[in-house]
Symmetry: C2
Amino acid sequence: MKAMNYSRQREAIYHFLMERHDHPTAEVIYQQVKQEYPRISLGTVYRNLSLLEETGQIQRIPSDDSKEHYDANVGNHPHFICTKCHCVQDLTMDNLDFLSTLAYQNFNGEINRTQLTFFGKCNACKEPNEEKIKN
Amino acid sequence: MKAMNYSRQREAIYHFLMERHDHPTAEVIYQQVKQEYPRISLGTVYRNLSLLEETGQIQRIPSDDSKEHYDANVGNHPHFICTKCHCVQDLTMDNLDFLSTLAYQNFNGEINRTQLTFFGKCNACKEPNEEKIKN
DNA sequence: ATACGTGCAAACGTTTTGCACATAC
DNA sequence: GTATGTGCAAAACGTTTGCACGTAT
């Protein structure tokens, strides 16, 4: 791994990500950090997100909106993704380690990470009393 | 849903996908179907994959190589993705329905689909006796 | 005859990269 | 002083789309 110097931009990106729990995209992070560093570029955001991911400080969450989402909570926790508004939420479910144990029963590679993602409508998007509206 | 006429290209795409169990990308499907229909275009492949997905005949599997993978097995089954060669494999694990039940304990939206994916090194890529080689 | 599908090429949105300058160490 | 980081703009990449023509029904 290459040496890593300090950078204010990287610091700002990381701290912004730690405060948020809604797993923003690179664009959202860029717009936010721009307030503090108006000359920052989107390329810098992407470069730093990649660096932070390489060092294991953040994780990348593939979504269904063809954008990557980023999460400063690197613990192994499940996610919910709304197929309507594309929001990403953390779910609370303890001890998912048994899943990889189960998987090993029929698999002989090496498992490093387990990703559990649920898709559906979030609480705000589900429409209890109305017919589905064509959008 | 729009009416759907028969098309030889769609048929070829679907049958190719049914025969394969390694969940190829659109490009791989294109290269293969091209042997049979040399004038087929990549756009046609994408359009038909989208149609087949809308009708529930195939499913899309997001991978970690920023390409979509396609699977003619639409049952809810877990996947393994190799972080080295980016191959996608099916795993055999019965009855994953309890996972969404667990998730509902701390979630009040509506879950339609559960996606369980393991990441690591596949059997071919794991190197039992050698140090990791920089690539 | 009409609606749906195709090939082609151009456009799209996200992410990456080459370069010259700036900053950290 | 040297390696690493940045801003900018252009390129790259997978995917989508507009259009005129082809095919299914």
